[in-house]
Symmetry: C2
């Protein structure tokens, strides 16, 4: 087991949970089911059998920094996790290929466990046991897929048809074929026949084996990966990745390799699994009240039935809703019948087309040093509440179009302003004129909260010049 | 026509339009239909035939000040309107009786036109013409009610059954009886028979006649009114009104007088009319899109039908709604099928029971000097945007539990702080320590906008001691 590396695929910028998810804050970073976000749950799931220094996360350039901040909860060891940034999403095959190069460089004989970052598995012990069983097959040179025994005629998942008996000496079965999402009648047949499994997107194999199969079945992509491989660790690495990705096709590993390879086995998994693919999927994994509703946040309801009501701090009052989904966030509310929530994509596209911010950012934005919340934006002004974590500091910076008034609400602020250093305490304020080099820092042991009032002819986030930054920005 | 006074009844604190209406901001102060709020439309409707100095508005103690501010749009003549404050709502009979005393004192032979403040009439010329016709009857000593010819079998209104022919020499008809809200079948019969009219709540009569009829049919109430009449203009006026009201029953003028009197005539009105009694009533008076929706504010929708979607500045995204009502405000969202919106009362009651502010106040609160908007409230702090109108000033005041940081966004602030007077300009700030006598004023010609950050162990509105106030608070 000390040869296994985990590759977590976290590039998804799914819009299906909008407005809770945003382009800059996708589903894997949401805490919609369970005690923590899906991504963090995915990392914790490995606890005990794959240490953090053998965990790689593949994500996009855009999400890279936020994902790193997101992993800070794992403490000092968080930076042992390798975060690989793709220039753009190209489906699973390139992501897996790219991550495999990094693993191969460390240990060409390593095993690699591939996992999505945004699925739910509650039974972590069963998961670990299943990985151990899969190791037997992977070590023998097989590509092992994890199949989930269906408990209902689900039409939203892809299926894998497998042999009814195990391969001699293993608990794994030969894979016959992948099957697209079926209609309900077909799904019922699959359920009855018993040798159809849901494709969980979890795989285990030797890095050498998958690279060999990619070479055989996806030769173009493999040539690109070879170019990247040569550049690894050199100062050409980033630009080579960008060049190769700009020419690479979007392909999934399922159809690029697994459909074609002769060496694929399936492990009938003993753990529970859900891809939490849309709002109605929550009905399978969250608790309901006596009327079948899932209710969160500041919600007051009267005679609602089988509805999903996700409130926020704002008050959400509903009467007589049936089979509806309502999602309330500080800046946007979404309402739809359950059966039509997938159309939220069209809403997000329209927002994007019209240049509306609500498709991409939340009112509260996480930063390596803490977070800020936009309380109001108006003509020539913007008001934010800023929270700086203990011992963290913002970059030394300058704004060319705005000045900033800061009032401290709690904690102590250490301010650097044009070289001068001073402290500001609760119920005190300070002022940063335009074009003044400044830095905000929390030297204390409790969070620092300040209210910032920006004044200027341009109050957007990109009016910032950074001189020194703790976080390499 | 120069003997007519108008009495506008504006005591309603209806919850039926929550969350757009609040206890402190009822329906008559909302701009839901037409160019202005229903109350202001009611005042404007009199333009040209009843001048402002013959307009009286009866409202509650609670709403009195806000109503006065609300009427400021009528400029310098606004204070010619007499605002009469009832200690508490006691239905229409006491309100009409009380207002009649004030009219009678000026002119015992005056005619009084009674009107609700929260109904909609678009055809103001027809309205004026109808009043002129009604005058003929009122001057002959009749109590004239305005009946609306039904155009559908409405079950939400009370009806008046009238004689089929006019009284000789008048365009008015004898009233037979008032009828409670009918069921649909009965309403259909009324529509067919043609001599049933909706009761608009609009009446015209001599003040002497109505006082006489009140004396005859509501002798208890009349005795109370006589006590008040004696106190009018003396320093006992307020306390007498309070004493009488505390013992007075709630009674409507319809059932207290009009049902019993032998001298009631009905004018078949030629103007349009709606009582705008609930959300679905808007379907009769507002424009629809091609799919039968009424849409307002920052709303984005996909395939919605026959729904009422009232957005605010926040984004409201809806898919596939049918016959629904959605009302979004900065601090609360309400969602219900059209046919159940009347149950919103239960929601408001529950909020009240739980001590939630959302039942009573909006995030933006109007004041005589301007307005403030609560941007955020947290532990030991509150953030407001304050707008002071040109040449207006807040009271000279002290807070015992909070200090205030002010940052000017636009306009110029004149500050009085412990006797010192100084000016603060855009992008400048100042500080008011706790227990410091201070005053904020806009000496300029454009609105003054400031951001206020309050700090303290208690940041509620009632921590205020006023020393001088322009508005008699």
């Amino acid at each position: 087991m000390d040869k296994i590396y985990a590759v977590i695929l976290a590039g998804g910028s799914g819009t299906r949970f909008w407005p809770l998810s945003r382009e800059t804050w996708p589903k894997q970073m949401l805490q919609i089911v369970g005690e923590d976000t899906l991504l963090r749950q995915s990392v914790r799931r490995l606890n005990g059998f794959i240490p953090l220094d053998r965990v790689l996360i593949v994500t996009t350039e855009k999400l890279g920094q936020d994902i790193k901040i997101h992993l800070n909860v794992f403490g000092k060891n968080a930076n042992q996790i390798k975060v690989i940034k793709e220039p753009c999403g190209r489906n699973t095959a390139p992501a897996i290929g790219l991550a495999s190069l990094y693993v191969k460089k460390i240990d060409p004989e390593a095993l690699v466990l591939i996992m999505p970052s945004d699925h739910l598995i509650k039974k972590v012990h069963e998961f670990e046991n299943d990985v151990r069983k899969a190791v037997e097959g992977a070590e023998k040179g097989y590509l092992v897929t994890f199949g989930i025994q269906p408990n209902k005629p689900e039409t939203g998942y892809g299926y894998m048809k497998v042999q009814k008996e195990s391969v001699p000496g293993l608990t794994l079965r030969k894979l016959h074929k992948f099957v697209e999402k079926p209609d309900r009648e077909t799904a019922k047949t699959y359920l009855k026949e018993g040798n159809y499994f849901w494709n969980s997107g979890i795989f285990l194999w030797k890095v050498s084996k998958i690279m060999g199969e990619i070479e055989r079945y996806m030769p173009d992509m493999h040539r690109g990966l070879e170019r990247i491989e040569e550049s690894l660790g050199t100062d050409k690495e980033r630009e080579t990745i960008e060049a190769v990705y700009s020419e690479m096709d979007s392909q999934s590993i399922d159809y690029g390799v697994l459909e074609k390879s002769y060496d694929v086995l399936t492990l009938p998994a003993s753990f529970d699994w859900s891809d939490v693919g849309n709002w109605p999927a929550l009905d399978d994994v969250l608790e309901h009240d006596a009327h079948g509703n899932i209710v969160r946040g500041n919600a007051i309801g009267l005679d609602n039935h089988n509805s999903i009501l996700f409130g926020s701090n704002r008050l959400l009052a509903t009467i007589g809703l049936k089979d509806m989904v309502v999602v309330d966030t500080p800046d946007a509310t979404f309402i739809s019948p359950k059966e039509r929530t997938q159309e939220v994509k069209k809403v997000v596209e329209e927002l994007k087309r019209n240049g509306k911010e609500e498709h991409s950012v939340h009112r509260t934005v996480e930063r390596p040093w803490g977070s800020y919340t936009v309380l109001e934006k108006g003509d020539r002004y913007k008001i934010k509440r800023i929270v700086v974590k203990p011992h963290e500091k913002l970059s030394l910076q300058v704004h060319r179009h705005r000045s900033e008034h800061w009032v401290v609400i709690s904690g102590t602020a250490k301010i650097t302003r044009n070289g001068e250093v001073y402290y500001v305490h609760p119920n005190e304020s300070t002022y940063i004129p335009v074009s003044t080099r400044h830095r905000l820092e929390n030297p204390g042991k409790v969070p620092l909260q300040i209210i910032e009032v920006q004044n200027g002819d341009y109050v957007e986030e990109d009016d910032i010049e950074r001189f020194e930054d703790e976080y390499g920005r």
